[in-house]
Structures are given as C-alpha cells and as structure tokens.
C-alpha cells in the first residue's frame, strides 16, 4: 500500500488540531441534556470512512494522543479506543463500500458507543474508588444520541476538507462509471458506444 500523499497528511494534521481545539474551547462547554457532544470520535470515524482503515487507525492514534495530552489525561487510553474506531470505519469502507447517505449516522452512533463504553471499561480495569451511579449508562446513551444527530454535518465537513486530497480510488471510479451509465452491463454495447460517440462529439 502506498503512503498517503503529503497534501492529505497536512490536511489531516490540521483537521485533528482544529477539532481538538474547537472541542475543548467551545463544544465541551455547551451542555445539551446535561452532557456535551464529542466531535473527536466522529471526526476519526469520518476519516476512516473516507480514507480507509490504515489512515483511519493512524488518525485515531494521533487524535487520541492529542486529546489525552491536551486534557492531561492518562496517555494511551483515548488513542487505543480511537485506533479501533478509525480502523473499523476504514474496514467498513474497504469491505462493504457503503454508499447510502445515512451510513455516517449509524457509524457515528457506533463510534460514540465504542468511545463511551470503552472508556468506562478501561476506567473500571484501572480501578475506580468512588461509587458508580447507574446514571452513567444514561449519560453514555444521551451522548450517543446527541453525537448521532451531529454525525452527518461532521462527516460532511470532514469530507469537504479531505476529499480533494484523497487519491482516486479505482473502485469508486468504477462505481461512478456504472452510475453514469458508462460501463453498465445493463446497457447494450451499441447504446454505450452511441453515448461515447455523442460525448466525444
């Protein structure tokens, strides 16, 4: 697999930095139903869906490390969770190549669930001295709900930022050709040829 182009790397770095700064400085301070939305797992999921599993995993690791560092948290926890999110979203694209417009909605819910439940499990493994309220699960559920609602706009913004720098994917190019009728087996060769001739002038 060839390494991603420099232009894409630059955009991904700026995207990670911008998302973390906006998250800490604004989004985290806006309370919706008593919780705050979390843009970072959505951003990692979107990058995985758009750029593939390896790019998604690396983006997850870097974003998680940045989050842990800036928030003075235990280093490595968020990275570990975001690697899983980025890789899984990338594999979804590589294996299924989902084209439906609502895929980011479901993927956003799943990514937030992995981040919320994963963080809870790791914290329990590391040891929690304080009593734990069952409302924790309600809070995780509301976070998933709020993040699901904003996952489509987040995906659209991420797509707008990194799509121009993505290398052209042969499978997507083939699908585009099918969609426009250029290589569709449902059309007769003469018809297809006619289109090309007309297109060619």
């Amino acid at each position: 697999m060839s390494p991603p182009p420099l232009r894409l790397i630059l955009r991904l770095v700026l995207l990670a930095l911008g998302t973390v700064v906006i998250q800490e400085a604004a989004v985290s301070q806006i309370s919706i139903f008593g919780i705050s939305a979390d843009l970072t797992p959505l951003m990692v999921m979107s990058v995985g869906l758009l750029a593939g599993s390896l790019t998604g995993a690396v983006m997850g690791f870097a974003t998680g490390l940045l989050v842990d560092t800036v928030l003075v948290q235990t280093l490595g926890i968020t990275s570990l969770l975001y690697i899983a999110i980025g890789y899984w979203a990338g594999r979804l694209r590589e294996l299924r190549d989902p084209a439906h417009g609502l895929v980011p909605l479901a993927a956003g819910a799943a990514a937030t669930a992995v981040a919320g439940i994963g963080m809870t499990l790791i914290q329990f493994l590391l040891g929690v001295d304080a009593p734990v309220s069952l409302l924790l699960f309600q809070q995780i559920f509301i976070t998933i709900l709020v993040n699901t609602l904003i996952s489509l706009p987040v995906y659209a913004v991420v797509r707008r930022i990194i799509h121009p720098a993505l290398p052209d994917d042969p499978r997507r190019r083939r699908r585009r050709a099918y969609t426009t009728g250029g290589l569709s087996p449902l059309q007769s060769s003469s018809k297809r040829l006619g289109q090309i001739t007309r297109g060619g002038g």
């Binding site: 906006i22 800490e24 400085a25 948290q73 490595g76 304080a130």
Partner: protein, 282 residues
C-alpha cells in the same frame, strides 16, 4: 502498522499510569499544555458568542422547569435568613466577649480570578483548564470556587495555565460537614456517572441531617495533617434523605451549589491556610 499503534498505546498507558507527576511523560504533557493554552484561550474567546447562544437556549429551557422549585427554595431561605441574622448578632456579641479573631472571608485566602479556557468532554476525567498558573501564585492543591461554591482543586500547574479537577471527578474526595445542629462530618465523594450529585459518606448512622441542609468544607487540622481546604467553603445542599440509606450506608446525596457544567470563570484560593480561626489571649 496497526499492531505497532496498539502496542505504543499500551506502553504509554502502562508507563503513564505507573509514573509520578514529576516524571518525564507528565513533564512533556505539561509542556504541550503550556504551548496549546494560548491557542485554546484565543479559540475560547473567538468562539464565546457561539457558546453563549447555545448555552442561552439550554439555560432558558432549564430555567423554565426550575421556576417552581426555586420559588419554594426562596421562601425557605428567607425564613432561614431571619434566623441566621439573629444568630449572627449573638455570635458577634459572644466573639467580642471571648476575644476570638474570626477572619474567614474569602478575601483572606488571596483569591485569584481566572477564565475557563477548556473543558473535558468525557464523563470520567471532569477537568477544566483555566488561564492562571504559577505566575499568579497558583499552586497544586489550591481550592477553586465558582458560581458560589467549591468546584474542585488545582491538580496540574504551569506558568500561565492550570488544570482544575472538579468535585465530580472519580478521584475526588474531601472532608465535609453538614450545617445541622450536630455539625455531622463525613467524606464527600462523587457519584460517578451523575454529574449533578455528590455523596456525603461516613456519616454517623443516626445523623440528624435534613433535605436542604448546607454542606461546607471542614478544614480540619490533625497533627501534621491539614485539609487542603479552609473551613466553611460552601459545597452544596443535602438532597432527598433516605433514612435506610443513611442508616445502612451512612451516606446522603448532596447537590452541588455550583452549576458544574456552566461556569466560565473561577476564583483560585492561593493561600487557603492564611486565615485559620485562632484564639487570642486577651
């Protein structure tokens, strides 16, 4: 590549978890926070209109549902105020008689004002970043007040930025006292997963606490061991008391005075032990 990333994460997690706060990884983390803090402070200022509009909508909806509850609280507090005024008068007279110097105003603890520039979105860490640090005299462990009550303490300090761990963080605990007749004392602990509630544990099983009683810091001193907090800082009020929970688990729920998700500025008490109550020989 994927395995390498996972291994690096696990190594970081293990190394960081076992390290002391003065170790290299923590130092690097503090350095990066120091570099990031001006960017974050700038972004916080630029994005404040967006934040204010969103919070205004949220606050309006919440305020509507709180009107009846607050009216009832207002009636109760007016009655309490009348009683307290009388007691204050008596207290001043008695204090003058025994020559006791009581200087427990917040000003005596050298408060430093700071703005919140960043907030942790996760349910587990409950930290905020503020734009005041060691240059302003802030030290690790200093109590932090906001919105009329204790909100946490300083856990990480750098030159111009500090990290405040909130009283709802899983790692938090503090000695606290209920302002009931007996002045029952206990340990204040968070109720993880419920950011609007704390638990006052280790109370006497037969404590006479009632809903609405004020909970304040104890500010104890036992030998060389001194509480991080001065006495009398308001923390919250006792919630609905379940007698069974109190008798069997020795705990009551406490609602924090401060709205922990909405405060924008804080006061850091940089000299929390500067004004301890002391007796004077006449």
């Amino acid at each position: 590549m994927l395995a390498l990333l996972v291994v690096v994460s696990l190594i970081l997690l293990t190394a960081y978890f076992g390290e002391s706060p003065q170790s290299p990884l923590h130092s690097v983390q503090r350095g990066i926070v120091q570099v990031f803090s001006p960017v974050q402070a700038g972004a916080s200022k630029v994005l404040s209109p967006v934040r204010d509009v969103a919070n205004w909508v949220s606050d309006t909806l919440r305020a509507k549902s709180n009107v009846d509850k607050l009216r009832k609280t207002n009636r109760d507090l007016t009655a309490q105020l009348a009683t307290l005024k009388t007691e204050q008068l008596q207290n001043e007279q008695l204090t003058a008689e025994v020559g006791l110097d009581q200087t427990i105003g917040i000003r005596n603890y050298h408060p430093v004002g700071a703005n919140v520039t960043g907030r942790d979105p996760s349910l587990w860490y409950q930290q905020v970043e503020v734009d005041a640090g060691s240059d302003e005299g802030v030290e690790q462990g200093d109590p932090v007040l906001a919105d009329g009550g204790l909100v946490g303490d300083v856990t990480t300090v750098d030159a111009s930025v500090s990290i405040v761990t909130l009283i709802t963080a899983p790692s938090y605990a503090a000695a606290a006292q209920v302002t009931d007749r007996a002045g029952d004392q206990g340990i204040l602990a968070p109720s993880v997963g419920n950011p609007n509630q704390l638990l006052l544990t280790d109370l006497p099983g037969r404590a006479q606490v009632a809903q609405g009683d004020l909970v304040v810091t104890t500010g104890f001193k036992s030998g060389s061991l001194t509480s991080l907090y001065p006495p009398g800082l308001p923390i919250g009020t006792v919630g609905t008391v379940n007698p069974n929970q109190l008798f069997n688990n020795n705990e009551v729920p406490v609602s924090p005075t401060a709205d922990l998700r909405h405060f924008d500025s804080v006061q850091i008490l940089t000299r929390p032990h500067a004004a301890n109550v002391r007796a004077q020989v006449p």
